[in-house]
Subunit: 329 residues, 2 copies
DNA sequence: TTGTACGCGTTATCAA
DNA sequence: TTGATAACGCGTACAA
């Protein structure tokens, strides 16, 4: 059996309340008592039961993180940042991977709802209306998506796409392809929207392919579709994994990158810079997304009135590498 | 305020106990009552408070996962498998990333200890004696390490190294280098041990370099040391990230792989097969490690007496790719 | 079959 | 400054 506050109280010869105070608010007890309690606690190896505490205080000191796929290198980076930030404030984090299945999200949130003080929803796939109700139960911040009126942290996809298109246009490309990610992905729609605006502004033709799974295999499958489209000299992928699949399949089919086809990814995951050719991609501050997400959530939790609808949009930056080059006619 | 069992009882016109029974053990209550309770529960959107429940039952339905670095692609794969397996049995999982700092592990475990039914320690870095005490408080399974007498799941590094050395020996390599990972890593020591045995058996000379951080940067730093060593024609890295760093730095220094130097990694992370040249590496069943770990832990939890000292050793397999080739003198 | 009452470990309230 | 007691929400032994 674990050692409880009672044991400490008995050993120290004081009441439970004094133990509680001596440990939580040392200033409100006589120094002598404080010392007796603290040494008794140390001697017994006493640690307050956070479960019992949360029952009365209503606080759990836990955060819930829900995301679609830990196998996508984008998410571990975000999660690590979340975890690091959360630890600073003594929060523990629950992790729930929904494996890209929108139907799993609601039950996953439901299961965690009781034992967390707030949620960080990373790229959730479920419909807005399925998610919104939970926001009334627990503070909730959305990452990589906007769900009115929840606070959110997103990347400036439009600007990223603008940079990418400007880059490709400068290289002489006149027809681009976009390989779309999951239909349920908000960032896919956001990137697609931004890309359309950018191509229109440049008077560039856009061919859209997909939707495909946001994985290497999804990209490989899309490659054949892209290569079949007429006039395409450059392709922008939903994310780096898809771009990887494109590169791989192009290589297998003898299509040289960037000589015959330029490829641009999105996210700048670790692997992107290590490939041959290294991948030109739109970088997102992944760690920052996680950190800002936690900060927003903490703010929302401590300031219940402040039904803050903060919408943070973080900058993106095109990283030009070897996978893009001049267009050939 | 959340809806409690009391609200349901009031609406259904029964006592709290009846609500409890109607939901937990529908057979032990009159069908009429059961229906009233269930419809009341549904109408109010009642979900039992798992925190309060765990206080009385002693069970939390949570698992704790502690690991050194989510940024190493090896771990997300394991975690995803753990998460998936845990969900099947209605367990939620806490994730704690210690950022390769042994000193953080004990506090991290301590913080979670109250609210989990068991721990999965992935490649823990702290000394055995710091970790063992917790095993008396909560069931605990160790992955990628052995801590007597705890149950563990490890990979057969010795056999993996045997395969790798046999491969390199067959290619005519007579002097190998090993780039060692963290001193605190059990798998590093395990791999190193296996490699020593294999090289001795083949009458091959082994040069040991390191220890370095288990990252791309660590590998890059090691590259210069390896290239300075005389006679080395092939190098085995602690893991794929280190191997990546080696490849990158070799490329930067104009050393061609595999023509001038063969490189072998360990883990077979996603990126390994996508590089140019693709990385020859020793593959581990990462998903299986996670899955087996959960199964072992569940077994340990349901069978408290069975202080089972199961030590599962999973097979490894050499994947030969382009980063290894014949030795040149 | 159902209801009453207690206890899990902690913090909050109030009186001493 | 301290101690007794209530309360958090639930499960269960026991009584009805």
């Amino acid at each position: 059996m674990a050692v409880t506050i009672k044991d400490v109280a008995r050993l120290a010869g004081v009441s439970q309340s004094s133990v509680c105070r001596a440990l939580a608010d040392p200033a409100r007890v006589r120094p002598e008592t404080r010392d007796r309690v603290q040494s008794a606690a140390k001697q017994l190896g006493y640690h307050p039961n956070r479960v019992a505490r949360s029952l009365i205080t209503g606080r759990t000191a836990n955060l819930g993180v829900v995301l679609p796929d830990l196998a996508n290198p984008f998410f571990p980076t975000v999660v690590k940042a979340i975890q690091t930030r959360a630890r600073r404030f003594d929060y523990a984090v629950f992790l729930s991977d929904t494996d890209e299945d929108p139907a799993v999200e609601v039950p996953a949130i439901r299961a965690l709802a009781m034992q967390v003080d707030g949620f960080l929803l990373c790229s959730p796939r479920a419909p807005d209306d399925d998610l919104r109700p939970f926001a009334r139960e627990k503070p909730m911040v959305v990452l990589n998506r906007r769900i009115t009126p929840l606070p959110s942290v997103t990347a400036d996809s439009a600007d990223g796409m603008r940079q990418a298109v400007a880059h490709l246009a400068a290289l002489g490309h006149r027809t681009l392809a976009y390989v779309a990610g999951p239909r349920t992905s908000w960032s896919n729609r956001d990137r697609q929207r931004g890309l359309r605006a950018a191509t229109t502004a440049h008077g560039i033709r856009l061919v859209e392919v997909g939707n495909v799974a946001p994985t290497v295999d999804g990209g490989a499958a899309a490659a054949d579709l892209v290569l079949a489209a007429t006039g395409v000299t450059a392709v922008l992928a939903y994310n780096d994994l898809v771009a990887l699949g494109l590169l791989r399949r192009c290589h297998a089919r003898g299509v040289r990158v960037p000589e015959q086809l330029s490829v641009v990814g999105f996210d700048d995951i670790l692997i992107a810079g290590l490939l041959a050719p290294p991948l030109t991609t739109v970088a997102i501050g992944k760690e920052r997304i996680g950190r800002v997400g936690v900060d927003l959530l903490l703010e929302l939790m401590t300031d219940p009135d402040h039904r803050g609808t903060a919408k943070r949009v973080l900058p993106t930056q095109l990283i030009v590498r070897g996978s893009t080059g001049p267009a050939v006619s």
